[in-house]
Amino acid sequence: MNTYVVAWRNIGRNKRRTALSAVAITVAAFGMVLLFSIIAGLSFEMQDNFVRYITGDILIEHEEFEKYQDINPLHFYVPDQEELIKKMEALEGVAHAFPRINFGGQLYSQASIGEFKRVSIFGFDPVAESDTMNMTSHLVPETNSQMPAANSREVIISEGLAKREGLKVGDKINLATMTVRRAAFQITMKISGIAYFDFSQMNEGIVFIPFDLAQYIVDYSGFDGAMSVNVVKKTNVERGDLEKQINDVLKTESAYQGITARAFENVSTIYSFLKMAEYIYYFMGLLFFLLASTVIINTTMMVIFERTREIGTLSALGMKGKEIVRLFFTEALIIAIIGSLVGVVIGTAMAIWLEPTGFDFKEAMQGVDFQISGMMKPKWNPVIAIFVLAAGIVVSSFAAYFPAKRASRIKPIEAMRKDY
């Protein structure tokens, strides 16, 4: 009879105990799969939102811009954006490219005298971004919202802003801001629509204005400047490759001196923070398994204790120490595999079940500078399942090895003498 069969039968000898230690591993594996799926979901959502609304796959901007982004560095612009966009769209891996201008300002009106109402201005090209941002689909239907008419002073405001300030479609707003020359500038614009985004950052006090109007406001018109040009890649292209390709193009043109392209991964500090967080959670996951594995150690020790006499018999009959270790180890291994497998399966089921709805985490995320909507939608992937399965099996069978080794050191005579 081979070790495997014997081990299997031994497991059946005390089903409840087997179940219990399997459950410990199961709970740990389940928790891990869910936790990792949530992290992956967060990571995905954050990436998606960032790429879609903020950076694109590749962000082209002045190399100094990021360093000074806190102080509204309007003078670090990308010149001749239309020209550049044509060049970009001519590239193999580029799906499309579009310009952006973002800056801050304040709304004022007779009613708001003595108050300081800050807003962010989001200058975008509704046509060029119809595939990615797709503003039309975000317009709140009940409000009679329209896209801004061309060459008008019409804007869209976020639902958050509309609520906060009691603004409706058709209302006029006065905006005070700064030009690239730090001259104060004021303009009156009409609200043509109200937009809602899941992405909390896009739903605060934001005024979405057509790109050419934004250019006019910050005084970029003379050189057709943009604050950035965002590039969306074709699906089969690697961001890193495209980044390199674009930078090569930019280098050859003296007009684009100081302008650089960066792939999404290299833009966002949030991204690297989340990556770091991911590692921390992986580490915590391992700690969980370690804890669960104390149960395995315990169980294996129990089993050995209980079968001391049997072990004595086996070794009296000539079974070698190594074989005895293997016998007990196999037993623990089977339990570890079953436990991990069940945990991974339940965790996977749970993660997939929760994937469409997610669960609410808004409160806990309050005030934390995280670019996610606050709904946690797990996003399961096979790597998670494999990682957790492997970690579960490795850690818990490692835990079982030592007591199993102990069993081989039991002396036959001693074992037979035991009165219990």
Partner: protein, 225 residues
Amino acid sequence: MIQVKDVERTYVAGDTKVHALKGVSLSVKEGEFLSIAGPSGSGKTTLLNIIGCIDDADKGDVIIDQVDVRSKKPDELAVFRREKLGFVFQTFNLIPVMSAYENVEMVLKLLKISDAEARERTMAILKEVGLEGMEDRRPSRLSGGQQQRVAIARALVKNPTLVLADEPTANLDSVTGKAVLDIMKAMNKKYGTAFIFSTHDKMVMDFAERLVMLHDGKIESDKRR
């Protein structure tokens, strides 16, 4: 002292029913030294368990000291056992974490007997069963015969009215077994404690003063010698 009337006991294991006792009646007087003998599977253990109040008969009555044990609650039976009955098991069943002394003393502790008295009685009985000097040994450091003597001491230390011993010698070699029986008999004579022990061993049966032969769940013969 003990009346067992028409006791039946049926075990149900899955689909099969085993009639372990098929109407057994037996009466035991104080101070008797009685052996229940019979081949393996004849129902000896079952009968002793029922007399010892650790198992219930399906039918019939068990009356010990004029008390119908079947009318008692589990906790009352536990108290009854701790006060009146002693057990000796085939496999000794000593508590492994306790020394020989502690195993015996335990019974007195359960009876809330004062420490000083418990000590005196424990030491005395251990001496009587011939274990002087071995009080502090744990069961794992005692031979089978020695362990069984501890068990006998444990059964006797509280001066029970009845000691039940289920195949007390089955795990011992014949010389040791005989020694254990000698002690049991001596105790029976000295304290007048009734003993009921079961066996399937011819040699052991010879020790009995009254021999009840059990066969297939029925009493075959009941002889005094």
